[in-house]
Assembly symmetry: C2
Homo-oligomer: 387 residues x 2
Amino acid sequence: MRGVSIVGIGSTPFGVLEDQSLKSMAVTAANEAIGDAGVDPKEIEALYVGNFISGFLAGQATIAPQIADLLGLKKEIACTSVEGACCSGGIALRHGYFLVASGMAERVLVVGVEKMTHAPTAKNTEGLALAMDHETSEGKSGLTFPGFFALVAQRHMHEFGTTPEHLARVAFKNRRNGARNSFARFREEVSLEDITNSRAISDPLRLFDCCPIADGASAVLLCPTEQAGKFTDAPVEIVGSAQTTGYNSLYNTPSSTTLDATVLAGRQAFEMAGIGPEEVDVVELHDCFTIAEIVDGEDLGFFEKGQGGFAVAEGLTQVDGKIPINPSGGLLSKGHPVGATGVGQVYEVVKQLRGSHENQVTDAKIGLTHNLGATGQVCTVHILRRV
Amino acid sequence: MRGVSIVGIGSTPFGVLEDQSLKSMAVTAANEAIGDAGVDPKEIEALYVGNFISGFLAGQATIAPQIADLLGLKKEIACTSVEGACCSGGIALRHGYFLVASGMAERVLVVGVEKMTHAPTAKNTEGLALAMDHETSEGKSGLTFPGFFALVAQRHMHEFGTTPEHLARVAFKNRRNGARNSFARFREEVSLEDITNSRAISDPLRLFDCCPIADGASAVLLCPTEQAGKFTDAPVEIVGSAQTTGYNSLYNTPSSTTLDATVLAGRQAFEMAGIGPEEVDVVELHDCFTIAEIVDGEDLGFFEKGQGGFAVAEGLTQVDGKIPINPSGGLLSKGHPVGATGVGQVYEVVKQLRGSHENQVTDAKIGLTHNLGATGQVCTVHILRRV
């Protein structure tokens, strides 16, 4: 196992990109990453594309080889689409990492992409819900993701005293962060009052507790750390990488306030990196709902179980707080183009570690990304370090 | 890079499996492979699932972690769905192979699965066509796969003198083979006359020139070759493995009678195995249409370009011929549960190399599987050898 570094990054903004197709977004992000690294596309030895549901939503499947063809990559290489619901992007990165770490490839391109906003809301809701387990009670009974995370929130409030205001504080912070990130879908701050008065979606979750769909693509280019200096003055090394599996349904999980896949992935990634949560300077984690940010922060070890809501209320997760979480605005403000999200998080953290983020965390050296799929069925965690 | 062997195989029959769900088929095949190897499920270190379109057709996405949960695999491991249209199964195998070959895992489970026959024909046609490139002329203009391969056939006939009878001979052979394989969807021989008189689908392709959709799942269990003896008396080593990329559309390929991704994948796999086509004893290749079997056989180097049709007519590809192709019945008779096909081919070849196939090729020692996605956009070739 050799060191792997990110030497190129690229991204479209996340939002309503009416003029861009699924593939044009992927090509834009990929070409930016390739250009950022200054790599000849013919040197790329593999492509991974993270995508959840382009066939269902955008009428286009099998996009990895199609994107490769548009980029002019070599035909001798493997170009693979991976799917793990909202974790698809993280899985793509994990596979690119593996290929370079194992010595099987020298230059690997990783892209995450999703096109969603052209489709009606009902179609998006149906599409997203395809990731639930439809053979057991939950999917069959019509439970969708807002309902799932509302159940998690209800239990978290019951067990730990988390309040609706704690949830609102997450949305408030991430809206404020998003306002400072030109890649975010939502660029306006929202008052706590507007958040707590917004319409109910699934009690206790209100409109601002839920992340928006979006169009978008992000890309990174990987190479062995020992070669990174050839491509960039600011390489970022992947020092921890983990992918784990969770339970199919809430009803058979040991606890409904912990997502085990996150706990296991965090533990593996920290062990691999040889550091603990206290050494992390900046985090982009999977805040598909406000309660998810609270649960994720606890499951990753940044806070004791049950303390996540209180930590937000104390300001600990602000960009100038003890452990800045989602300075990008997170899924809640930046938006959630499902397959792109996991790579987009890495794009954001690399910018932080390069010191060039619009909402910069002072002197960030170590960052963590956490990407979660479906009802916690699949999770990736990556730890990144400025070289 | 260390040697990787297949020590367990399992499969459902391919066909109309009304009583089985997508996941129940996957679990059946996987448990059979696990049992065949005698491996403790808790020892499995990764799962790859090849699936094309379960979200669109079967209303269930994100199936890799869900199958893992049903199988009782460990939560610490990565369970990943890969998609490359009709090549999804081959891509899954390729990734399992990589993980073991690189030393990153000791036991890896690979599953291919698709559920199709419950859905109306129009929905299946629409679903399959999602793999075409819909941003250029072909997908947009309404071209589907029978039309694509009819164009290939027309050009092949024009350039090389391939005849409708050559095509019919492929169907005739594969129907006869399928009649001897209890895992095949179609179990009855069909006369040449019935084949050539069957209704036109897309000139020159007739009904029997086209493979049927099917439900089905297949699975294999991989471990390092040096440990294979612990699990089986008849290990089969993967001595060649390749995955390549083709062109998005027929109109921009250098030739419409050659699928370059196949040529490149075959070349890579043979080079890795250190053998040539003449040393292969049995082949399962991607005969989605009769013309595809002819083109694939040429592209893999079993026949000169243009000679594939004549070779079939001479009986060279029969089970007792010089190079037996698709003794399983192939996609044409066994059926094509899209995501399962690539793993199903390996299931068939392993049975051949174990000497236990119902349509056994005498003393088969080396086998080859060829799995093709979309309009030749992605291809895998694996070469297997009896240890």
